[in-house]
Amino acid sequence: MLEALNYPFDPALLLKKRRSLKRELLSDGSTRIEKRIAVLGGSTTHDIIDMLELFLLNFGIEPRFYESEYGQFYEDALFGQELAEFQPELVFLHTSFRNLRFLPTAEDNASSVAEKLDRETAHFTAVWENVSTRFGCPVIQNNFEPPYYRLLGNRDAWDPRGWTCYALEMNRRFADYAAAHESFYLNDLAYAAGDYGLQAWSDPLYWHMYKYCMCLNAIPAFAYQTACIVKSIYGKNKKALVLDLDNTLWGGVVGDDGVEGIEIGQETSMGQSYAEFQRYLKTLSSYGVLLAVNSKNDEVNALAGLEHPDGALKPRDFVAIRANWEPKSKNFGDIAAALNILPDSMVFVDDNPAERAIVTRVYPEVSAPPLDMPEHYVGLLDRAGYFEATALSKDDLARVDMYRQNAARAEQQNRFTDYGEYLRSLQMKAVIQPFEPMVLARVTQLTNKSNQFNLTTRRYTESEIEAASKDSNRITLYGRLADVFGDNGLVSVVIGRQEGERLHIELWLMSCRVLKRNMEHAMLDSLAAAARARGVRTLVGYYYKTAKNGMVRDFYKDFGFTLAAAEGEDTVWELDITDYQNKNQFIEVNEGHYEQN
């Protein structure tokens, strides 16, 4: 990870030093997933691609680009042969207000404008549908910035002939399409333009000289928000914020100033800034972002500060609280371990640069935004795009509860000396079924974000998952798990490909939130049963080593598979299932008692 590319970045520096930055990223020895991305533009896309490339490399994605000829987005999407040969895994349609073709005139009225909007929209839906049928890949589509001049002044905003009104109506239609289509991602160019400042953004010099729909300096921030969508699609979002307390969640030092002395609430301007930050975090957590505390404090003082009546955050809003005098890097690692997530997927939020340095020295891949003053905290975290919500499932919304339930399970476990007794006490119930339409989005999301308990780390698009579910040569299984403490949701996915009497296990993954509950036993039982019903005698398991999946190196061995081949640290395993005995003893599977949240 390059510091220069972390938000907040210097746009002019990135544009100027793009070549050396790229060189530095490519030689840093890190492993990245490779993606073929087609950028189809209605204006020049050269610098956008350069900036997108830097940000994606920094996010752990190595893109290979296809760039349409200038302004040929429509023709390319519908007919482009070279594009077809490129086989895009993602298509980004970079269009803007400059590409609107039926702008209203003085002669128009409400109904003729409505027709124009329909024709305009149809032009774009043709592009999206062609991309979807030709390539079956996700689409990222810009919406429209307001025009840089207003022929009707303020009337432009509501009169159907107004171009401002026209752009807004188009954006409404694009939003409706986004709401109705899973693999369609709206890139909010209108927000980016407003955020940058419309007048500077729309500098006509860049259009007339270079056919850029925005000024050059606006490109890095726009490319960054685009890169955030891409990294989110490929499961590279962050999952948690690990927060300091003193001068981060409130002003002052609770241990010295006392609960009455800290600044939080409506009394002072500073107190209001911290209160807004706490409300921001609380709302963020309602969308599934985990919050944890990492503070140098006596725990009793930390908890007292969090009980302050004017603060929005209370101790129960955090899935882990580490308030002690250990080094923050140690607490940071402990929190990751307790939550079963990788340190890389947590953001460290601390006003003290020295503490940030201590954590990032131990965990170089951890983002630790440079907090300066409390009135900037919200904007800084927000624009960094850590939690870009391309998918927002029921499981996401329930995630904080799930982690809280896990804490309750850990407590329960401490009451048992025998692990089997503990598992029995959970009264686990599972549903294990072939993929069905309702679960495709969540299954896809899991294939893209599971890193640790993932045997092959194959990434799938939703259309590939759908295709697998319909393939008569494939066995697909998803597993949901619930227990007395609550529903863990859809946590495991297996895909096997049958070749005569052998079933090749192409994918086996499980969410780390259900580690050590024997869910994998139940999955293997179901897989073996489904395979035997189709005449399969041998299961063939594959382990492909990555930097993150060391925990499943011996997965197949532990299940009694025998080693059939090895290449480096990648291994192939086989299990004869003619006399397969079920392994699961603790989970009731498909008994019909499963209650969803």
Binding site: A12, L15, K16, R19, H46, D47, H208, M209, L216
Partner: protein, 79 residues
């Protein structure tokens, strides 16, 4: 800032933009003399020059630049 100083700072900008520490530009240097100086890189070059000298060129001025000497004139006019 005199002409020599402008050239010195300009060299830094060229080296960054074209990622080549050996570049030294003169009055007569044109796009043909520097590898990678195509119409697209020209956009980032102009922008980097504007940023380095904290000024902005009108379209007419950019279009009239035929070599680095013209660029230095345009910078000197605005400092």
């Amino acid at each position: 800032m005199n002409r020599t100083e402008i050239f010195e700072q300009l060299n830094e900008v060229f080296r960054d933009v074209f990622d080549d520490p050996s570049i030294t530009v003169t009055e007569q240097t044109t796009a043909a003399d520097i590898e990678g100086w195509d119409s697209l890189m020209h956009i980032s070059l102009i922008s980097a020059v504007e940023d380095a000298f904290d000024l902005s060129f009108p379209m007419k001025t950019v279009l009239a630049m035929k070599n680095v000497g013209d660029m230095v004139n345009a910078i000197a006019d605005r400092l």
